[in-house]
Subunit: 272 residues, 2 copies
DNA sequence: TTGCTCCTCACGTCACGTGAGGTGGC
DNA sequence: TTGCTCCTCACGTCACGTGAGGTGGC
């Protein structure tokens, strides 16, 4: 019979761990002295300890290990548990590799620019969104092209919503894929949630689906949005995602007294 | 200004998380109502939240994120943190892949045999060990060859230790690489820790170094040790380690009344 | 007597999730 | 009045590490 220190040394574990395994019933000493509380382990318990450590090294929780040790599962059950564990580890590995790619994308990003503040690209799922919107074609991106279109479309949408007694929510814009000549179709409108809004030939109601996006927050005038767009796109390509559609712009704040306080979230659907 | 629910929805986080970040000073609301305690967030705080989430997605702890957000590190410092994080993730990935290989080795092991009980292979570091030992050559492995050698060598070692007033510790055997003709040199002796023991031409004192080993516990007669050896070797090869030397046998229990209660630990040094 | 090993609490870890119990505005 | 959102505790999670304070045999 071995005392706890000797047994711990043989098994290369700490006495505290053995006490813990005793406490939760995973591996109880052969004998506990009724007076002193001293634990004694039989040499053959080293085999049990080995099983326990082997399962722990495979990443099973102590509760699962308890099931295996006490319930003596069939070969089939054991195989099932191992397969499940295998699948879970594969998921973990994939997650960590994703993390790694994101870190490396940020590393390359700070290598490329002097702007320190681009580490705010975030992957998230958007909520689905119902918009009342107007549409128009612009000769290209750039606020010199887009601004007049916003000024044309938005009052029409607002007037229509007012005539229907609906409250406009967030201002949202999204785009269609640019044509070969560089022209783009802009959709600009307001979130209307579940309010009933009828359509006209100038105002449509559309549902933007939930999608996974990469997103940045741009603060300031939309005249200066280009760098944000560029770093977002490069970040996405860098981190082994790919662009899965044209962008959306969500104007969380677009009427600040100071234009530098405007806040616009730029989202690109991504895949992979 | 947004209340906590609105802000949480925009950032795709839970209100509880925002309260937590407030509590630990990571992201405090623009305003807290003195009477009701209601938190209000400014839209531009979405940018801060994005930074926070981006850092979290890279696996930084909240304490580290706090440092980045509050202390506005230089590009060089930021690069250093990212590099460190990158290295840590690479370690994690390597560990998880090791786990995966161990799980797969066990899966193949239970596919190969009907014996359910071989899941007790464990990787560990041995303690260094000082032995007083005798040496002899056997025509091969197998207890029919080795047993006479043990019977010859061990009494000599014991007698020598007794004459020196030293206490014999654990019985340990180890081997040299087998020769081409299949013969092996057996070293068999007893642990002597730091006791002073002089050497003779029949009894040598050696230090076995600390090494990383794969280890199984064999219970019963050494006549039946072959399957344990075989499964240990296959397991090692299977899990992308490789054998880094000949085996050691540690006889934790070798004089049980019932031979089936003998306990022997078999270790193979491994590398990679 | 001093050192060593053993014992039993019990707190701390990390980033929140999940009630419990209560409040304020539509 | 009912629902909804907000609030503040405070426990639970997982596998131990790390004291604190005390005991027993050489």
């Amino acid at each position: 019979m071995l005392n706890i220190g000797e047994f711990a040394r043989l098994g290369q574990v700490s006495p505290r761990m053995l006490r813990h395994y005793d406490e939760i019933g995973l591996l109880q000493p052969q004998n506990v002295d009724a007076v002193t509380g001293y634990r004694s382990y039989a040499v053959h318990q080293l085999g049990r300890l080995h099983q326990l450590l082997a399962l722990r090294d495979m990443g099973f929780t102590l509760a699962q290990i308890g099931d295996v040790l006490h319930e003596d599962p069939s070969v089939e059950q054991l195989r099932g548990m191992l397969r499940l564990r295998q699948a879970q580890i594969e998921v973990t590995v994939a997650e960590e590799e994703g993390r790694l790619r994101r870190v490396e994308a940020h590393l390359r990003a700070i290598g490329r620019t002097c702007a320190v503040k681009l580490q705010d690209v975030v992957i998230k799922k958007t909520d689905s969104l119902r918009l009342a919107e107007g549409r128009g074609t612009s000769p290209g991106f750039g606020s010199e092209n887009l601004r007049p279109l916003f000024v044309e479309l938005l009052p029409e949408v607002l007037a229509h919503l007012a005539s229907e007694g609906a409250q406009p929510g967030l201002l949202v814009a999204h785009y269609e894929e640019p044509k070969d000549d560089g022209s783009v179709v802009l959709h600009a409108g307001f979130a209307v949630d579940r309010q009933a809004v009828t359509e006209t030939d100038r105002v449509q109601v559309v549902d933007l689906p939930e999608v996974e996006v990469a997103s940045v927050i741009h603060r300031g005038s939309m005249d200066d949005v280009a760098p944000a767009y560029e770093s977002l796109v490069r970040w996405i390509e860098d981190s082994a995602y790919r662009l899965a559609g044209p962008s959306r712009e969500i104007y969380h704040e677009c009427m600040a007294e100071d234009v530098n306080d405007n806040i616009c979230e730029i989202q690109f659907p991504i895949a992979r």
